[in-house]
Symmetry: C2
Subunit: 282 residues, 2 copies
């Protein structure tokens, strides 16, 4: 490869592509579950791909990791017990552990190799892995959630790859029933929910499956994410009760720094553009 090579991800479901200019391939491993590749880019730091899909870049991952954690944790009244399904790059775990009230955060990713690659090429994402509150498991997230003690969790974060391959089972009623059972009455489930521009049908279907599992309130929050298809992504919150009470004052007074997340950004994201709200029936 030369300094002028470009790495593209072609996202077939939406007919769109994204890419980065790269200087060289740093690593590649075929795990029992998927192919993980690491490239060095000219402008985005390191880039991790899983089965050809962009997962993380050094430069823009803060957008996703902040939005996968802080909105849910500042919506739950007092999050102490958190489980992350997937999230092997450890970036979401790091954000969760910024909340001093969190007593235990379990990260359960099926693929140990993702975390090994993150430790090597994205060490900043792994800087909280030794936090005594963190527990890092390499196991099947579906089985883990099915075996969780009922009513034991405050927040479940599903930080998965696209709903094909290993992550397919994280988008259906059976999995959501496990989450529902494991959550306390005021518990919150949050899941990465793909592009709000082109994958509205997927978000709708996901919310329908969550509903069949017993969840009654849903909130989809969009945010920018250049390394994912269309550059616009979302997370979807679900809970058992009615409505979402954003702890706005606590979000404003948060005792840690963020690059993207603020109370105002959180509130802004709660107000969906008309074309999204219409499609989701909000």
């Amino acid at each position: 490869m030369t300094a002028s090579d470009w790495l593209h991800e072609r996202f077939e479901p939406a007919g769109s592509a994204i890419g980065f200019r790269i200087t060289r391939k740093l690593d590649e491993v075929q795990s029992p579950f998927q192919k993980i590749e690491i490239y060095e880019s000219t402008d985005w730091g390191n880039v991790m791909l899983i089965d050809g899909a962009m997962m993380v870049t050094t430069r823009d991952n803060f957008l996703y990791h902040e939005m996968m954690s802080h909105p849910a944790l500042f919506t739950h009244p007092d999050p102490k017990q958190v489980v992350i399904i997937g999230g092997g790059d450890c970036g979401t775990l790091r954000e969760v552990l910024r909340h001093p009230g969190v007593e235990r955060a379990v990260q359960c990713d099926i693929d140990e190799q993702v975390t090994r690659m993150a430790e090597k090429y994205f060490p900043e994402l792994c800087e909280s892995n030794d936090d005594p509150r963190a527990e890092i498991l390499f196991d099947d997230g579906i089985a883990y959630m099915a075996n969780c003690a009922p009513g034991s969790l405050d927040v479940v974060i599903v930080d998965s790859t696209d709903p094909v391959g290993p992550a397919e089972g994280l988008f259906n009623k059976a999995f959501f029933e496990s989450c529902f059972r494991a959550l306390k009455d005021d518990g919150i489930l949050v899941q990465q929910s793909e592009s709000p521009l082109v994958l509205l049908d997927l978000i709708k279907a996901m919310r329908a499956e969550m509903g069949k599992a017993g969840f009654t309130s849903f909130q989809t929050l969009p945010f920018p994410q250049p390394c994912y298809p269309t550059g616009w992504w979302s997370c979807t919150l679900a809970r058992k009760g009615q409505g979402f009470e954003f702890r706005e004052a606590d979000a404003r007074a948060r005792p840690f720094e963020t690059l993207y997340y603020t109370a105002e950004i959180h509130k802004g994201a709660q107000s969906l553009p008309p074309f999204v709200a219409k499609a989701l029936g909000d």
Copy 2:
């Protein structure tokens, strides 16, 4: 070309690329100013490129056109006289003319061929071209602004290509001085200001040039735009006085439909993420 062809734009300044799956090339013209190409895509409708840069797709142009017009028009106290520099696809003009209070909207694009292509391949963007309030000129926008009667305009919208080639002269002090002179005391200038993730230096430089021309207040509003590099774009408002008074009640009561713009989206965009605010010194 076959049905599986992909069209990529490699954005050299940021080392990132975007692309769409296309079925065929519909047209191409080399105007005296630039090369204009039209492709048919599988999922995004038609796509217009100018000198290899994505300009408009049928599917996602509403994001840009709504955000280039409604925030400025709902910030000005009573916009009647509007000038659009560039904007040859006529999409911004259409949005401006949705405001019943606008008495005259002049669109001045140097390249007639852009409009001819838009009429043919994006007819929905041109549906207000026959509005008696619209005046469509094909002329040099720099000269047009320099010759405008002083204090005659309420809003100037600079809907240009990137600051290279024909649009280069739309990003410097001399041009902004013409805008400043042509605007009334409460007038507002709004300009597309590239990606807030990777081109913060450009936004900063643009605001500095606007400042040298006499503008004293600036507001950069980010929004998603999949067909532009990084999928995240921005417009920047400038005015002579202090601060921006958003006519929120009027935005809520707007007598027209939008797909993206709402009063809440507008307010949300006003609150910049910390990493953007810090870079811009806001």
